[in-house]
Symmetry: C2
Subunit: 135 residues, 2 copies
């Protein structure tokens, strides 16, 4: 069994998430493909090796994993959800031409860590423009 699957099982157990093959596949795909895929991309890829897989299951899995804090969803400008299994602090760059989503580093940047009266949970930095390939 590949090491990564053991890691996944550990994390699911830590978070008290029920282990199912579908959830493992989805999470593994996100960990190994750091491309901020759409729901449909995940579905299309995993459907190949698991023809009975349903899109509803992808959505259910997203709910479970993001409630547990293992993944997060970012909304692309088209209003379509994109998935990210890396929850460390980084920015997202959206290419307006090809739709590519790329991480970028936010080390050395500063942000308000508090706004008076508000309880801040997450902060996200999004940039749009044109990626190197499209220029």
């Amino acid at each position: 069994m590949p090491k990564s699957v053991n890691t996944i099982i550990e994390r699911f157990n830590e978070k008290n998430i029920r282990l199912t093959p579908q959830r493992i596949c989805v999470y593994q795909f996100l960990l190994e493909n750091r491309i901020h895929p759409t729901v449909d991309t995940v579905y299309t890829h995993l459907k190949k090796s698991n023809p009975s897989l349903s899109k509803t299951t992808i959505y259910n899995t997203i709910d479970a994993l993001s409630s547990a804090g293992l993944i997060r969803t970012i909304i692309a400008n088209e209003g379509e959800a994109r998935l990210d299994a890396y929850t460390d602090f980084h920015g997202h760059f959206f290419c307006e031409k090809c739709g590519l989503v790329t991480d970028f580093c936010l080390d050395g940047c500063s942000f308000p860590d508090q706004i008076d009266g508000f309880e801040m949970k997450t902060i996200e930095v999004r940039a749009t423009g044109t990626c190197p390939n499209c220029r």
Copy 2:
């Protein structure tokens, strides 16, 4: 004629946008109600004084005004578009409980103004959490 409508007419002329009553209403509503309304909110409000108004026209107007740079759309976490007629640099705080969207100041904060290889056009800072009323 109120001063604000003259300002709107000037801006439309500057941007070479055709003047229609519907567009003026939408833009005026956004300037006077800094609440980051959804498309439906704008539609419902303006429909009262203009019963024949269509949602398609709201969408067409959003296209025209945002292409001209007069407004911008921000995607709430639910995937619904919200409108902002203030294009100066500020952050957006989304309350997870009531859905309120509030501006917050980004003075004194620092961001990457360039990412190598990428042509950056816009940058947006989004925070989520709980607003004062919901705490």
